[in-house]
């Protein structure tokens, strides 16, 4: 276990470990999957770039990774590399924490799959209009999977978990909408 470990039950750990000074992060709440990630973090983490702060969730959350309650008290924090101050992680950092995200989606795709306005700022224009720059978020994705016959099956999604599942070659091949058996 990392020396930055919090004294709370392992099953509730949510680690936020910066692998580099720019805040690469990794997350696990799965003890079985945690060990290798922690080992990797020990090898690469900058000494004070970030640390883990974890807490018991106040309310049980659904399994979908995108419902992580950003900014919820005590859930996830990051340490600002420059100052050492505890700060709320950006949604991008939280997305990077999700298991499998880094291996299946590019950073731009991860941003596009974000469905939260957390961290976005409204701008009031001179005419009174209010603008919310989405910063590349809320994109609709089209993903294709080929079945055993090489026929494409299309899915529209903007959900990171769904995208990750669809893109994972380990996910069973799609079956036609109208199956033969």
């Amino acid at each position: 276990m990392s020396p930055l470990r919090s004294p709370v039950p392992r099953s509730f750990l949510i680690g936020l470990l910066a692998a580099t000074a720019v805040g690469m992060v990794t997350l696990t709440s799965d003890p079985a999957a945690a060990a290798p990630r922690r080992a990797k973090a020990r090898r690469h983490a900058a000494p004070v770039a970030a640390k883990t702060v974890a807490a018991r969730p106040a309310v049980a959350q659904p399994a979908s990774p995108l419902v992580l309650p950003l900014g919820a008290a005590g859930m996830i924090v990051a340490i600002e590399p420059e100052t050492g101050a505890l700060v709320r992680p950006t949604p991008e950092q939280v997305l990077q924490l999700l298991p499998g995200q880094t291996s299946l989606l590019t950073p731009a795709e991860r941003t596009g799959l974000m469905r939260t306005s957390e961290g976005l700022s409204e701008t009031r224009l001179k005419d009174g209009s209010v603008m919310l720059d989405l910063q590349g978020r809320f994109q609709e994705f089209e993903i294709v999977r080929l079945d055993a016959q090489g026929r494409p099956h299309f899915s529209s999604t903007s959900d990171a978990a769904t995208a990750r599942r669809l893109l994972d070659p380990a996910t069973p091949a799609p079956t036609p909408n109208a199956e033969e058996k």
Partner: protein, 567 residues
Amino acid sequence: MAARPSTELRRLLPALALACLCLAVSAQAATITIVNNDSPGEGFNDPTVVAPVGGNPGTTVGQQRLNVFQQAASIWGAILPSAVEIRVNAQFNPLSCSATTGVLGSCGATSIFRDFPNAPFASTWYVKAEADKLAGSDLNPSSADISAQFNSNVGTTGCLETSSWYYGFDHNEGASGIDLLAVVIHELTHGLGFICYVNLSTGALTGGLPDIYSRFLLDGATGLHWNQESNAQRAASAINTYNLFWDGDATKFMAPLTLNHRPVLTLNAPVAGVMNVGTASFGPPLAYPGVTGNVVLADDGTAPTSDACTALVNGGAMAGNIALVDRGTCAFTIKVKNAQNAGAIACVVADNAASSQPAGMSGTDPTITIPSVRVTKADGDTLKARIARGLNVTLQIDPALLAGADAAGRVIMYSPNPVESGSSVSHWDPMANPNLSMEPFINSDLTSSVDLSRYLFEDIGWLPRTTGVTPAASSGVAMLRGNAPNPFAHSTSIRFDLPREADAELAVFDISGRLVRRLVNGHLPAGSHVTVWDGTDEAGRQVQSGAYFTRLKVGETVGSRTLVMVH
């Protein structure tokens, strides 16, 4: 269309209205500009020489790609009126991909606006393109309206290598091709406003305020629109399958003219209920009136005995009844053929895996002569539980229901459980038949039509109101709702509502105003009514292909609609 005071010209109003609409829209057609953000030699600038294909005259890969984007832009540009240029930042880039799966592309609005000049609703988010249109000016000239990127690696080693983009305009992509035009139209439609900005897992609104799309989402459980609900109510509604509707007048008006009637399994007395079914690509299609019979569980004598993969051993009980068989082990055609051979008059296949919606059944066997359908595992279990007490059902096309809409004619939104954030709510339900361009799964039979999306955009304020539906109950007038299918080949169902009992006359006229067929002439109770025209005249002769008018006359009010018969 609500019935209105009669004039002779009234019969021609639908056609005239359409012509006026076309003129009006073309006069204000939006300019949608594709901004090529690719570097020289790649993406839209790929110099690889290719032959023109499917109406795309480009002679390089890059030019063909750009032509496809411009084709999609011209389709929407011809429909949407806007004095403000709509700019789409577009790129072809290597996106996540493997041999069998990959990101084809993504698209979305760059920003959203609220409380801009002329905003129809205060404190309501609109995508930039629509906000600009409504405001009459570019609210943020420094930014494009939409960003889009597509995968340049499709068809290359390691990326969907057995497939490839198809750049033709004719949707003739073949079995393994990927129709870029259909995908771009779909994605561009999202970027123009076919999108919900609610966090579907929590129900939270963006910045605590609704978007214009959410204002038209009707929660069938509460009877409230999403902007009237709490976060918890919205989150629950997002996963309430078949119970989330688009409550816009224009879309509702066009639904009967777009969607076919819904195939259903109706449970008859003493039990009651209706189950949605998947249809088969073999055997006769469901009809109205349909096939009615008692349900008998198949038994082929070999475990699992109810999968009907071998000849049935309970033919005596099965003869003249409807077979219920389990999915699995063998092809659907084998199951249905075994049921048919045992004397069944129809066959119901119960899924063997849980799903929220019944899928279809494919296969080919020209010797199958009985209709067959597929139901979900849950519905199959329900049927099995009731067989012992006697179960009588009807398989039919329900003339009062549309495939993809509720009983009130509101189109059903995609709301699977669990939620598929992004897919859920921001698409029509796949139950829609024929397939629609904004279903969550792009289907191979799509064309360049934007079908009901155009009317959804009318609902959210993109277009001036050219259609309208006023519920009969509240308007107090009779309403001719149109016919479906339309165009039609053999018969079409015509729907109309009466707010109170009345003398009603429904008739079909040809283009010159001559009576072709009187369908209804009598005193009818209040409510929704459906009648079928089989394409014959008063003498029972088949009429020629062409345009016809239906006219509903109730008291002093008259409404008319156009029908098109195509042999």
